[in-house]
């Protein structure tokens, strides 16, 4: 383990994180300010959906983010399980709650959008259904970390859960699409027919803002996880001395 520990080098990570933290926060705030200004003020209201179309600027990037964070989590888990890289285990652990919040945000704004669009808060649309399942996968992953006391054991088991979920996600997505097409919903699809640049640009800025938000929060909670780990270690040492 000694070699791997040097390779992982949490100390170097902490130093780096400390240096970039302020910058990351600043970039995130600016991106959100610009993005929200464009999407809430500048972008034109949709001729069909009216002002409600603006929910999309919060909804779509959240959905993209939710998927991206799961990819980060699965990748970290794979690195953790293959290379026994302790920082990778913590990276997966730290990503999960952020991903869950993104997913929840996507579901919640989807429901808000659904009310004026479909006349009901929830419709079993293929996209919403897949995201609901994704949300459950996040919850299961986090529950595993909570349920297992031993850190190394929890990391291994959680990684297995994340990877199995990653293999299943495309299958789940595919099956939900099939199910949806079979039941031929009379609702309109969530995606607009063609995206105009006045909508696309704020959308991309918002997507970038979400990415930086994730990066900032992820590094910050990684720092917190590392500190938690150190505290446990010190407690164990103290217990041994008594």
């Amino acid at each position: 383990m000694a070699k791997i520990e040097k390779f992982a080098n949490p100390t170097r990570f902490l130093r780096l994180q400390e240096k970039v933290q302020l910058w990351l926060v600043a970039i995130t705030v600016i991106l959100f300010a610009v993005g929200l200004y464009y999407s809430l003020v500048k972008a034109p209201a949709d001729y069909q959906q009216g002002e409600t179309v603006r929910i999309m600027f919060v909804h779509v990037p959240a959905a993209w983010g939710a998927t991206m964070v799961y990819a980060v989590m699965a990748l970290s888990s794979a690195i953790g399980i293959i290379f026994r890289h302790p920082l990778a285990d913590l990276s997966a652990k730290a990503a999960a709650p952020i991903g869950a919040v993104f997913t929840f945000l996507a579901l919640f704004t989807g429901a808000l959008w659904g009310k004026p669009m479909w006349g009901t808060y929830w419709v079993w649309d293929a996209r919403l259904t897949s995201f609901f399942v994704l949300f459950l996968l996040y919850l299961g992953y986090m529950a595993i970390w909570q349920a297992i006391d031993d850190h190394h054991r929890a990391a291994r088991i959680a990684a297995i859960v994340a990877l199995v979920g990653a293999i299943n996600l495309p299958i789940i997505k595919f099956s939900v699409d099939w199910w949806n097409s079979l039941h031929q919903p009379s609702i309109m699809s969530m995606k607009g027919s063609s995206v105009h640049s006045s909508i696309l640009i704020p959308l991309l800025i918002m997507a970038l803002a979400y990415s930086f938000l994730f990066l900032t929060l992820h590094l910050l909670s990684l720092r917190a996880e590392l500190r938690k780990h150190k505290i446990r270690q010190l407690q164990m040492q103290a217990a041994k001395r008594v």
Binding site: I81, V133, L136, L137, L139, G140, A143, I144, A147, I148, H152, R153, R156, I157, I160, V161, L163, V164, G165, I167, N168, I171, I172, F174, S175, V176, W178, W179, L182
Partner: protein
Amino acid sequence: MKSFMALLKRDLVLAWRQGGGVGTAVGFFLTVIVLLPLGIGPDQSLLQRIAPGGLWIALLLSVLLSADRIYQADYDDGSLEVLTMGAMPLEIVAAVKSLSHWLTSGLPLAIIAPLLGFLLNLDTSLVFPIMGAMMLGSIGLSFLASLGAAVTVGLRRGGLLVSLLVLPLYVPVMIFGISASSGGLSGPDVSSAAMGILSGITLVILVVAPFGSGAALRTYMR
């Protein structure tokens, strides 16, 4: 091969002699089927429409709820450790134990379920399509349940957690299982295509689940 048969035989005998075997699973299945009309009302045509879905959901739950017996006893009494010391890799051990779980839960339920479907006014022409789809689909259900059981084997209160972890993974099996169960009702092409995809999904599960289970069991024995 001798190890394979020995393990399969032992697990089947244990499932037969101990409680929580076939009888309990069928009893549970029956209870869900009885609760369903009580919950939604006795309207015959409504029941007929939801019968396949109701049967599948009862199947999912019955398979899932008997999952904890797959590894728990072996983990508690030290058998699992000795099982790692034969020539059979732990992944195969997991596969054999999942198979015996299917033989004592999914398979008998798949045979009995469509018959119990008459309680839900099931369309008679659907009995055999449902039986076939359930036999195939329940293999995947057992292997996934086994994966869930392996991932929580060292936890004292793993029951609810298993459901949270496994039920989302059941989504594809259920969707294509029900499509395949529909017989000719939604077009013969649809159900045979669904059967094909269900076979594919089952194959993926047959490969992934034993590997995951083996890795999880090893982690818990450390």
